[in-house]
C-alpha cells in the first residue's frame, strides 16, 4: 500500500502535449478525484497512471516504488472503465475471477474471493449470467468487483458513472464509496461532474488545459476557489469585473469598486492594485426591498420558480453586469419580475481573484 506521487510528469498524445509538468501527491488510502471539462487532460493523466500512455518526462511513484517505466500489467492496478469493458463472452463469475486467475490463485481461493466480492456489490446469484443479460448499473458493479477482487495497490476509475441514469448514478456512487473506504485503497477517480466529485472525494484536483488549477478538499474547492475558472466549474458563480485601489494580500478583506458601488470582499491570493474579478455564488447573494437603503440598486428581470428554490436574474441600475441569484427558505418566490431590489454581497462570502 501507499499513496501516489506524480513528479513533473509531461504526456503527449498524437504529437500534442496534453499534460505539462504536472506534480501532485495523493495520500495513502485517499479517494482522489480529477475533475475538469472534457479535453483538460484528466483521462490522459489517469491512463498514464495506469501505464497505457508513456510519459515524456517526470516520474510516477506508487508508495515508494518508481513505476514510471513499468508496463500496465505489472503495475498492480484495478481499473474501472466508462463503458464497463466487461468481457462479453465470459460469465459474471469468470469476469470477476479473471484477475485472480491471471495471478494463478488456487481455485478454492478464486471461488471464495469472487463470491465474496459479488456479494459485496449485491450480485450474488448472478454468477452465470453474461454481461448482455445485466442492466447498466449491474454491469458497472461487476466491473467494480472485478477491479477490487485482486486487492490492487491503486484503483483507477475513468468516468465510471457517466453511462448510468441519474438515479442509478447515486446508488452506484454509494457502493463505490463504501467499498473504497472498506478496502482503504488509494483511488483516482476521473469525472466532469462536480456534484460527483464533491460527494465522493477526500481530495479534488481541478484540472485545466493539462495543469492542476486547484487542489483541495471538496469544501476548500467550493468555498475558496482560487480562480473564476474554478468557481464557475464547481457550482455556478457570478463573476463580476471590478477594480482595487490597493495591494491585497491573501486572506485579507479588500475594498473593490464594481457596478458603480464599493463593496468589501476577501482576497483569495496576493493581488496587486488594478482590475480584478469578484466571485459570488448565487445562493450567497442577498436581495432586499429597495427601501432598506443598503446594497446596490437593481431590477429583477427574470424569475424562475423551481419549487424548493427560486432563480432570479438581476440587472444593476448602473447598467452593469447581470447577476444570478438563488433564494431558498420561506417566501423564496415572493419577488416578482420587474421589482426593484437592493443587492447585498456579504464580505465573508464574496471573493476577489486576479483578473
Amino acid at each position: 500500500m501507499g499513496g501516489i506521487s506524480i513528479g513533473g510528469v509531461s504526456v503527449s498524445y498524437a504529437g500534442n502535449r496534453i499534460i505539462e509538468k504536472l506534480s501532485l501527491t495523493i495520500k495513502d488510502g485517499a479517494f482522489f478525484t480529477l475533475l475538469g471539462p472534457s479535453g483538460c487532460g484528466k483521462t490522459t493523466l489517469l491512463r498514464t497512471l495506469a501505464g497505457f500512455l508513456p510519459v515524456d518526462a517526470g516520474e510516477i511513484l506508487f508508495g515508494n516504488t518508481d513505476v514510471t517505466l513499468w508496463p500496465a500489467h505489472k503495475r498492480d492496478i484495478g481499473m474501472v472503465f466508462q463503458d464497463y469493458a466487461l468481457f462479453p463472452d465470459k460469465t459474471v463469475f469468470d469476469n470477476v475471477a479473471y484477475g485472480l486467475r491471471a495471478r494463478k490463485r488456487d481455485e478454492t481461493t478464486i471461488r471464495a474471493r469472487t463470491g465474496e466480492y459479488l456479494e459485496r456489490v449485491g450480485l450474488s446469484g448472478f454468477e452465470s449470467r453474461r454481461p448482455a443479460e445485466l442492466s447498466g448499473g449491474q454491469r458497472q458493479r461487476v466491473a467494480l468487483a472485478r477491479a477490487l477482487v485482486i486487492a490492487p495497490q491503486v484503483l483507477l476509475m475513468d468516468e465510471p458513472l457517466s453511462n448510468l441514469d441519474a438515479k442509478l448514478r447515486v446508488q452506484v456512487r454509494e457502493t463505490i464509496r463504501d467499498l473504497q473506504k472498506e478496502a482503504a485503497i488509494t483511488t483516482v477517480f476521473v469525472t466532469h461532474d462536480q456534484e460527483e466529485a464533491l460527494a465522493l472525494s477526500d481530495a479534488i484536483g481541478l484540472m485545466r488545459a493539462g495543469r492542476v488549477e486547484q487542489m483541495g478538499t471538496p469544501v476548500e474547492i467550493y468555498s475558496m476557489p482560487v480562480s473564476a475558472y474554478v468557481a464557475d466549474f464547481v457550482g455556478a458563480a457570478n463573476v463580476i469585473a471590478a477594480t482595487t485601489q490597493v495591494y491585497a494580500s491573501k486572506g485579507a478583506d479588500v475594498e473593490v469598486q464594481m457596478a458603480g458601488a464599493r463593496i468589501v470582499a476577501r482576497s483569495v491570493t496576493d493581488i496587486p492594485a488594478g482590475p480584478v474579478k469578484v466571485l459570488a455564488r448565487q445562493e450567497d447573494v442577498q436581495l432586499y426591498a429597495p427601501e432598506t437603503g443598503s446594497g446596490i440598486p437593481g431590477t429583477v428581470f427574470r424569475r424562475q420558480y423551481l419549487g424548493s428554490r427560486t432563480h432570479y436574474k438581476v440587472r444593476f441600475e448602473s447598467d452593469g453586469p447581470v447577476l444570478s441569484v438563488e433564494r431558498t427558505g420561506l417566501d423564496h418566490g415572493s419577488i416578482q419580475e420587474g421589482a426593484a431590489v437592493r443587492v447585498v454581497l456579504d464580505k465573508a462570502r464574496t471573493l476577489v481573484v486576479p483578473r
Binding site: T68, L69, P71, H73, G78, Q82, A85, L86, F87, I150
Partner: protein, 550 residues
C-alpha cells in the same frame, strides 16, 4: 524524447514485417508489370506502348473491353436497382425467393455460369436445338449477346445488394419531411432518396465495371470473335509462338489503367456532392395485392429463375449421357460423376489443398494486419492499408502475370510450384479478409483489452484471451467467404499453374474448351458442392452471418 517502455516496439516490427511482405507479393509484381511494358516489344525496338497504338487489334480490344464494361454496368443497374427498390419497399407473394439471390452469385463460379449458358444456348445447346427443331432459329449466343447476357446475370446481384443496403438504411423520415413541405410522394422520394442511394449504386457499379473488365472466364468462353483485353492478354501470355512478355505487360497495364481511371471518376463524382448520410429507420415494406403484385412477383421470379438456371443445368449436365461433345439430353447416367471422382480426382484434391492452405494463411494474415490497422496504428499502417486493398483494382490475369514475371527465377523462384498458386489465391482474396476483420475489430472497444491488461495479463496474451474469442465468429464467416471464392478462382491460377496442378476451375475451363460439357458439368457439380457444404454448415449449424460479411 519520449520514454517508451511499452509494447509499441513489437507492433512496430510486426507491421514492418507485414509491409515488407505486402511489398514483395503485391507491389513488386505490379511494378514489374508496369515497368516491363516499356521494354522493346518488337525486333525493330518499338516499345509495348508504341505497338499498342500501332496495331488495330489491340486498340479494338481496349475499346471492346470498355464498351462491354459500360454496357454490362448499365444492364446490371437496370435490373439490380428496381429489384432492390421493390424488395425494400413492398411485400408480395414469392418475395422470399429473392432472399436466395446473393447465394446464387456466390455458389456458381463464373466458369460454370458461362458453361451452363452455353449448354443451353450455344450452337449445340439444349434450347437452341429444341427451338431449332421447331423451326425457330436462334441467333448465335457467341460474341456480344452472350457476353452481355451472361455477365449481366452474374453481376447484377452486386448492384442489388449494394442498393438494397442503402435503401434499407435510408431514413424514411426524410421522405416524410419532404412530403410535409409540399412535395408529392413520388417527387419526395426522388428528391431525397436519390442523393442518398446514388453513392451506393455508384460504388457497386464501379465494382461491376471492374469485374467485367477483369473477367476472364466468360470473356474467353463466349467472346469468340469479340477481342477483349483479358483474353488477348492471356493469349499473349500463353502463345506458343514466342510468348510476348512486353506486350502482356503493356496489356495488363492498360487494364490497370482502365480500372484506375474508373476509380478516379467515381471518387470525383462522389466528392462533388459531399454530404453526411444519416442512417435512420427504413420505411416498412408495404403490402401490395392484385395485378401489380402478380406482375412484381412474376418479374422477380423470372430474374431468380434465370439466376438459378446455371445451377439447375450443371446438375442436369453432370448426370446426362454424352458421346464426346454431344449431349444426349434425357438419357441419365452416373458415369460422368463416377469418372471424375474415381478415375481423375486430381483437380479435386489440388483444389482442396491449395484453397485450404490459402484460406488458412489468408485468415491469419488478415486478422493480424487488421489488428494493426485498427488498434496499433503507426506511421507504417496507412501504407499497409493501401497495399492490402490494392488487389481489388487488379484483375486475376494481371496478378497472375505479375507473379510469374517476378518469381520465375532468382532469389525466390516459385514458377511450377504449388506455392505460386496459393500465393495468387492469397493476394486476390486479401482485401476481403482484411476489410472483414477490420470491421469486426472496430466494434470491439479498446477498453476490453485494457481491462485485461490492467488485471495483470500482458498485452499479447490479453489479445489472445479476450479479443480473439470475440473475433472468432467473424473470422469463421470470413473463412467461409474466402474459401468459397478461392475454390472458384480461375483467372490468376490459370496463368500461374503448371501441368499436374490443375484445379477444378482450370480443369472445367479446359474441358469446355474441348467441348466436353458432360465431364465439365460433373467437375462443376463437385465444385458447387465444395462451395455449398461449408456455407450450409456455417449458416445452419453455427448460425454465422456469412453474407452480411460481404
Amino acid at each position: 524524447m519520449s520514454r517508451r517502455p511499452f509494447e509499441g516496439g513489437i507492433w512496430f516490427w510486426l507491421s514492418l514485417a507485414a509491409l515488407v511482405a505486402l511489398c514483395v507479393i503485391i507491389l513488386y509484381p505490379l511494378i514489374n508489370v508496369l515497368a516491363s511494358s516499356f521494354g522493346a516489344a518488337r525486333a525493330d525496338g518499338r516499345s509495348g506502348w508504341q505497338v499498342l497504338f500501332a496495331e488495330p487489334k489491340y486498340l479494338r480490344a481496349v475499346g471492346n473491353t470498355v464498351l462491354l464494361g459500360l454496357v454490362v454496368t448499365l444492364t446490371t443497374i437496370l435490373i439490380g436497382v428496381p429489384l432492390a427498390y421493390v424488395t425494400a419497399r413492398f411485400r408480395f407473394p414469392g418475395k422470399a425467393l429473392i432472399a436466395i439471390l446473393p447465394l446464387t452469385t456466390l455458389i456458381v463460379p463464373e466458369v460454370i455460369a458461362a458453361q451452363t449458358w452455353l449448354m443451353m444456348l450455344g450452337n449445340n445447346g439444349l434450347i437452341t436445338r429444341t427451338l431449332g427443331g421447331w423451326g425457330i432459329p436462334i441467333p448465335s449466343f457467341y460474341g456480344w449477346s452472350g457476353l452481355i447476357i451472361v455477365m449481366t446475370f452474374i453481376y447484377y446481384t452486386y448492384i442489388y445488394m449494394g442498393t438494397l443496403a442503402a435503401i434499407r438504411g435510408f431514413d424514411h423520415q426524410l421522405e416524410q419531411a419532404a412530403q410535409s413541405l409540399g412535395a408529392s410522394p413520388g417527387r419526395a422520394r426522388l428528391d431525397v432518396m436519390l442523393p442518398v442511394v446514388l453513392p451506393a449504386v455508384l460504388a457497386s457499379a464501379l465494382l461491376v465495371f471492374t469485374l467485367v473488365v477483369g473477367n476472364f472466364a466468360v470473356a474467353t468462353i463466349l467472346g469468340h470473335k469479340v477481342e477483349l483485353l483479358s483474353v488477348i492478354t492471356y493469349q499473349t501470355f500463353v502463345s506458343e509462338i514466342g510468348n510476348d512478355p512486353v506486350m502482356q505487360s503493356t496489356l495488363a497495364s492498360v487494364s490497370i489503367g482502365i480500372v484506375a481511371l474508373a476509380l478516379f471518376l467515381q471518387r470525383f463524382i462522389l466528392s462533388r456532392g459531399r454530404y453526411e448520410i444519416t442512417l435512420g429507420r427504413g420505411a416498412k415494406a408495404a403490402d401490395i395485392r392484385g395485378a401489380p403484385a402478380l406482375a412484381l412477383a412474376g418479374a422477380a421470379t423470372v430474374v431468380v429463375l434465370i439466376s438459378l438456371l446455371p445451377l439447375a443445368s450443371v446438375i442436369a449436365g453432370a448426370f446426362t449421357r454424352a458421346r464426346g461433345p454431344v449431349m444426349r439430353w434425357g438419357e441419365w447416367t452416373t458415369a460422368n460423376v463416377e469418372r471424375v471422382l474415381i478415375n481423375a480426382p486430381d483437380p479435386i484434391i489440388n483444389t482442396l489443398i491449395y484453397a485450404g492452405v490459402a484460406t488458412a494463411l489468408s485468415l491469419i494474415f488478415s486478422t493480424g494486419v487488421s489488428y494493426m490497422l485498427v488498434k496499433k496504428r503507426n506511421i507504417l499502417t496507412p501504407a499497409i492499408d493501401y497495399l492490402a486493398a490494392l488487389p481489388l483494382a487488379l484483375s486475376g490475369t494481371v496478378i497472375g502475370i505479375g507473379l510469374v514475371m517476378s518469381f520465375n527465377q532468382g532469389w525466390l523462384s516459385l514458377t511450377g510450384t504449388a506455392a505460386i498458386i496459393v500465393l495468387a489465391y492469397l493476394i486476390r482474396r486479401l482485401p476481403f479478409g482484411v476489410r472483414n476483420a477490420s470491421s469486426t475489430l472496430y466494434n470491439i472497444p479498446n477498453s476490453i483489452e485494457e481491462a485485461s491488461i490492467s488485471l495483470g495479463v500482458p498485452p499479447l496474451r490479453s489479445f489472445v484471451a479476450v479479443v480473439l474469442p470475440l473475433m472468432v465468429p467473424a473470422i469463421a464467416a470470413a473463412g467461409v467467404l474466402v474459401w468459397t471464392t478461392t475454390v472458384a478462382e480461375l483467372s490468376a491460377s490459370i496463368v500461374v499453374y503448371s501441368g499436374g496442378r490443375e484445379t477444378l476451375p482450370i480443369q472445367i475451363f479446359r474441358l469446355i474448351d474441348s467441348g466436353l460439357m458432360a465431364q465439365a458439368s460433373a467437375y462443376g457439380l463437385v465444385l458447387v458442392s465444395i462451395i455449398l457444404v461449408p456455407i450450409i454448415i456455417a449458416t445452419t449449424l453455427f448460425r454465422l452471418d456469412v453474407f452480411g460479411a460481404k
